[in-house]
Every structure is written in C-alpha cells, then in structure tokens.
Symmetry: C2
Subunit: 430 residues, 2 copies
C-alpha cells in the first residue's frame, strides 16, 4: 500500500448514494432552466492561463490551479493552462469566439465543476459544481426578472419554502458609502465594499471595527452609517424588476438590501444573492456585468447571470431531510439468483427479459448457496429476488420472493416482469 | 482583445446543439447501465500525483497533465496533483479506500472526462469522456457476459446494427507468440504485443516489418505466424462467455480474435474490443484486471471492466446521421412576445402559465417591433409565438402564431398551453 487512497485534499469521491442525490438536484436545475429557454453550454476543464489571470482580482489569481507545461518544457516549472475558476469568464470567451454563430439573445445554462485552491474547510471544497444561467445581449430588466423567476422555480421545485433573494444595485454602493459612511474616494470605497460584504458573517460591530482598522472611516461614523443606510431608498430600476416578477415564481421572494455588495469586481448593475435562514453563506448569487465580454471581444456586450451553488443546496437539503425517498432507493428492483453453474446462461436470459420489462436488474454472479444469495440481496435492500430452479424451468415459471414481506410466489415466466412491477407500486422506473 | 478566445489546443467548447447530442448518448448509457444494476460513481478531476504515476507505463506517464504546487511552493515548479488519465485507476483507489462501505460485488458505472496530453489530431482530443462499467469482487464469467450484454445493449439502443466485439484472453498471447512467431522471451513478447496491437492500423506486412526491425523475429516467420495463428483455437474460458451471452443483447456480436492485444499492461484475463466497419479505432474496450486493486489495497481483488469512448460514438453517429430529430430541436416550444413596456410583467406571467402547462418557453426580452420579434423566433426555429396585445388582454385571450404554417389563431388564455401542446404533436416534453 504505497500511496494514500484518500482523494486529494479539498476534493471528494461521490459514492452511488451521493451521486444519486447530486443527479436529482442537477436534473431539477436542468429541467427548470430548459423550461425558461436557456440552452446548455459546456467548456473545457482548463483554459489558457491568460484567459483566467487578472479576471478575479489579486486574491483570485492565487487560488487558480495552474497546469505545468509538458514534455521538454516541463522542467521550466512554467504553467500554460489553468483549471476553470468559474463559469462566467469561459462564457465571456465563448461569446467572443462564436459571436457569429450565437443568437442575438444568447441564454445559456452551464452545470460544471470549478476548482479553487482555497483552504479546505467545512462546506468549502477545492472542486465544486456551479449551476449558472446567463443572458447575453439585452439590457432589459426582463432579463433580471426572468432569471429571478428561474432560480426561484428551481428552489421551489427542490422543496425550499423559506428562501429570500436580496437585491441591490452596484452603482448605489458608492453613493451609500459617501452619504452615510463619509467614504468618498473610489479606492477607499472599493476596499470598504470588501468589508461591507462580510456584514452577514461578522455583524455590524465587526464591520465598524474593520472599517476603522483599515482607516476608511471612524468606528462611530460606521455604526451611524450602518443604522441610517438601512432606510436608503430602493432605486427605481430595482423596483421595476420586483414589479416585473409579480405573477412569477419570484413573487414575494425578492427584497431590497442596500448593504448587499457581492465580492466580484465585474458587476455593473443589479446584484442578487439568495439566502435561507439556516445557512451562513448564500445558496447562489449573480448580477449584471455589461463589460466583461468586452475584455475578450473588444466591444461591450450586455450580460447578466445567476449562479446556484450545488454543494450548498445539497448541504441544506441533506440537513433538512429534503430528498424524496426514491432518490436513495436500492440499486436494483430485482436480483436474479443463480441455481447452479449450468443455469447461468438462463439466469442472464431471465435478467434480460426483466430488463426489457422495464426493471433494473442485478444478477448474483456466482452459483453460491441460495441462502447466501438471498442474504446478499437483503443486505443491499433489493426488493425482489427471482429463483429459477429445475422445477420452475420445467414448468416455465419463476419463483419471486418479496424481500419486504418474505412472501414467495410462483408466476408464469413471461409475466414475471409485470408481476414485480405491479408490486413495486408507485415507484417510477424508466 | 489581448488573449485568444479559442479553447486550449486539443479541447472543445460544446455549443447547445453539441451538448444535446452528448447528453442524448450519455442518457442512454446511464439508463442501460442502471438497468444492469450498475451504480454511479464520481471521482475528483485530479488525483494526488503518486496515485497516477507508474500505472500507465512510461508513455502514459508523459501524457499526464500535472498541476503546479500552490502558494509559496509554486516557484519550485513541482507538481503535487495530476488530472485524471482514465477512470480505472481512480476506481481501484476508491475500492481500497471504501472497502468496508462497498458491497461484496461492487458494480459501478462512471461517465466523466479524462485528460491526456496527446498530440491533438483528427478525432483525438486532450479532454474526452469515458463511459465505464466495472465489476469488482468476482472471477465468475457471468461478469464478462453481463458487461458484454450491457455494452451491446447501449450500442443497440443508440441504433448501431453492425458492431462486433472481438474477444481474446491475455494469457493466450504469450503462447501464440511462442508457438507461431518463435518469440519465447517474456520481454520480447511484451514488445511484440505493442506491434501486434497495430495489426488493424498497419496490416500484416506492416506488423511483419516492424517485428523484424525490432529484432523480435524474422519477417518470413512473422508472416507465417500471422497466417497460421488465425486458426489458433479459442480457449474454453472464452467459449463459455460467448455461450453465457446467448439470449442476451450480446448474442451474435462476440467473435474470438487471437490477435487482439489491448495496450494497457494491467489486464490479466479476458480482453475485449468493440469495432464498427467505418471506424479505424475502436468504440470501446475492456478486460479483466485482477491485480490492479492490489496496488492500492495490498491484497488482490478480482475486477473486470469495459469502457465506451463517448467521442468516437458521437463521431460515428454524426457521420451516419443516427441522432433522432428531437435531439436537435429548437431551444423552446414557444416564444412570448412583448407588446409594449407596460405589458412586460404580463408577458412574464403568461410565460409562467405556459411553463406550468409543460412547455419550454422563451420570452423576447425587449418591446421591439412585433415583426422583429416574430422574425427572431423564426430564425431560431421556435414553432409557436404568442401575441397578447390590448385586445387580447381585454378579452382574456392570446393569439398564437404557428411558425411552421404562418397560421394565427386566438385561444382563451387559460387554454393556450394545451392548444400549443396538442399542435406540437408527438414531440415529447418533460
């Protein structure tokens, strides 16, 4: 055993039950996004390193996984590729590259992993999935309203009843900092936003302390600001978005939050973040970024996007027991036992008949003692076991054992699949 | 425009139509594998570098993408992580790591990308998907027979009618080389296998020439060997697998091929490869590898697997026009137009009603001239457009334009979704 068998630090292996939970959420995300007219896009796991560097700020640069050049260049220790850090910058590259093939209003969704060399912590991973929607090509508030409706519908479909979407406008933040905090200089404002973004985590006192420590304003002024700015009026543009969301799944979900800052520097308009009471961070967030595509294309293209964090959604759903029971069901509806070595071919044929009948079927691979085979099925929660010995074979029947009741019944072989299907009841199969 | 907007060399962006084709194939693969009782597994994109090094031979080592250490260690130019090179070695690690949680017979499928720093060429990529099934824990030929049935069913379901699975046994190859080619020494045999594996590509003459050039045998002896070994008898163990596959989807597909070699060195028993007449390489391949898990676990565990290559399946399906028409359908069943700025909220509400009625619905984001909006829908092949002006609003109706016929009809608003659904006809929606 020369090497560790653990996955690398900050990453996870997903065993079957984990994958099923993830696929359940991803399936809902995809179906809802498709229903809203978003189209799927996938980009490579790595990008040319210049594509990513300088897009995520200084802190972001440090968290990018860099890939060593290959062959004779390997010994230089230089990197020419880097792992995807988010799904937005690759999208901006794609919009620039395929500008003549894409529709005027390009609405895409993308569900793929991203990688960040963050220090691993509870709920913070180095490999995690983002579920993004972005709309390219229009400055209309219909775009924001539709995205708010789409992410609200995703969460509602998953069973969330208590989420809120906080909404703010990037361009209100400088005004707010000047008016209530007496922070006027642009560079100081940018620094102050980083602190303000932590309000959720460190509270008003923490923010005030940090603003003073960074010499951006006094503690007293900051505390006044934090109190007074609460009643800062919502700008008309945001009121319009909320109004457009009446009679959509976003109705009643969206609230104005004058303090919402969002870390990423590329936002230019509305910014949004989703939260639930029992999670410190957010389930997702987004906003309008009308200049990012221009960094690749040379001319600006309006854009707005929203990203849901798969890992956090799964954390909350797991803690709250929100997964429907069928997601964690057994790997098979039935297991075919093997009577003896001579009947192995017939066991495989029977399995094929049951599969054609719409069942997920496992075959015990060896002609072990029958009791051992049945015990194995029981340990794996397989609800039905078939037995086909010499008698059954001679009479064209199959014995079916219902593992939940222990009851064993004999059916004509041709009716075995429908016999089991009817007893599986409401459980949907493919 | 400072940086190139192309994806990195050897990788691809998948635009919506590409993703739909890929998802169609992956969907079939997953459904069939589930029907055979295989369970999903996912592993991280990168592994600790020691996990991968030394598992794929000297050539393989060179093709592994290595990730630079981070932070203060970045300047050393050392790598501590590496991108997944196949799905088999990560599985072996997983089996060792979770031995107490996994069932005695662990049957898993895994559909994920792998990365190899191969020189890019037509049909050869640096990022490509593998669709693997592996069965851990049994030496029974039922395992091979079930895998042959499963991959045959995948291909049949996708519409392949002319594939063959070539079957050989790894331990027959040394005998064959000694008996017909007069190559007795183990190291020479290993070298000869690399040449023999190219028989498909370079033909008998090419193989004979290369064997002589490598001083493994004479050209004349090689040509005799290639002729005579054709009638080398199939070993009983393989005959049994074919027999077990009667009455399964593998029936009539599997043929013995005494020359099938398979590159990877970890195989210990049956080896298999799928081919179609119009593709030089294979659609997939696999075999038994009873010792690989032992490299991680310290004790051997029997294992057998099969890998389907997604990219090649898609290449052949595209060339042959095998994708069903609905895979390339429009991104939406209907597009809601916007009458004027005041009716935007109502347009979003109507879109919501149609979505609840089971339709995929796009909303034109701006109150452009109606003709422009309809033209946009036409350009995007959206089959239905809704118009809801002042008259319709007053009378509680919606005008629906069928873009395929140009016909426009007015329906009660509450019946609009079912009106469109019935005219979409057979096209299945979610």
């Amino acid at each position: 055993m020369p090497t560790s068998t653990k996955p690398p630090s900050g990453t996870r292996d997903f065993l079957p039950e984990d994958v099923r939970r993830r696929e359940h959420v991803i399936g809902v995300v995809r179906r809802v996004y498709e229903r809203y007219g978003f189209e799927p896009l996938e980009t490579p796991a790595f990008e040319n390193i210049e594509t990513l560097l300088g897009k995520y700020g200084e802190e972001g640069n440090k968290l990018i996984f860099k890939i060593l050049r290959r062959g004779e260049h390997e010994s230089t220790g230089e990197a020419d590729l880097a792992l995807r850090y988010d799904l937005t910058v690759p999208l901006a590259r794609v919009v620039a590259q395929y500008q003549n093939e894409l529709p005027k209003f390009f609405k895409r969704y993308q569900v793929q992993p991203v990688w960040r060399a963050d220090r691993p912590a509870k709920g913070r991973f180095r490999e995690f999935y983002q579920c993004d929607i972005d709309s390219i090509g229009s400055t209309s508030p219909v775009v924001e309203a539709e995205q708010l409706a789409a992410v609200s519908e995703v969460l509602t479909t998953l069973g969330f009843r208590d989420f809120k979407v906080r909404l703010n406008h990037r361009q209100e933040l400088p005004k707010l900092l000047a008016q209530y905090f007496a922070i006027d200089e642009a560079s100081k404002q940018a620094e102050a936003l980083i602190t303000l973004d932590k309000l959720d985590k460190i509270g008003a006192d923490g923010v005030a302390e940090e603003l003073e420590k960074r010499q951006l304003t006094t503690r007293a002024q900051a505390l006044v600001g934090l109190t007074e700015a609460v009643s800062h009026p919502m700008p008309d543009s945001l009121a319009r978005m909320i109004e457009l969301g009446q009679n959509t799944p976003a109705e009643g979900r969206v609230v104005f939050d004058a303090f919402l800052a969002r870390g990423l520097s590329y936002y230019t308009g509305a910014i949004m973040e989703i939260s639930v009471p029992d999670l410190a961070g957010s389930l997702g967030g987004g906003g309008r970024y009308d200049n990012l595509v221009g960094m690749f294309l040379g001319r600006d293209v309006p854009a707005c996007g929203f990203s849901l964090g798969l890992e956090r959604i799964i954390v909350v759903m797991t803690e709250r027991g929100m997964f429907p029971p069928h997601v964690a069901s057994s790997h098979a509806d039935a297991m075919v036992t093997i009577w003896n070595d001579d009947s192995r071919a017939d066991a495989l044929a029977l399995a094929g008949e049951l599969r054609r009948g719409g069942l997920r079927v496992d075959v015990y691979p060896e002609a072990d003692k029958l009791g051992k085979q049945v015990k194995y099925a029981s340990g794996r929660n397989v609800p039905f076991v078939t037995i086909c010995g010499d008698d059954e074979k001679a009479s064209g029947t199959v014995s079916v054992k219902d593992m939940r009741t222990g009851e064993q019944q004999t059916t004509p072989r041709a009716e075995t699949a429908s016999f089991i299907r009817s007893r599986l009841g409401q459980r949907e199969n493919l």
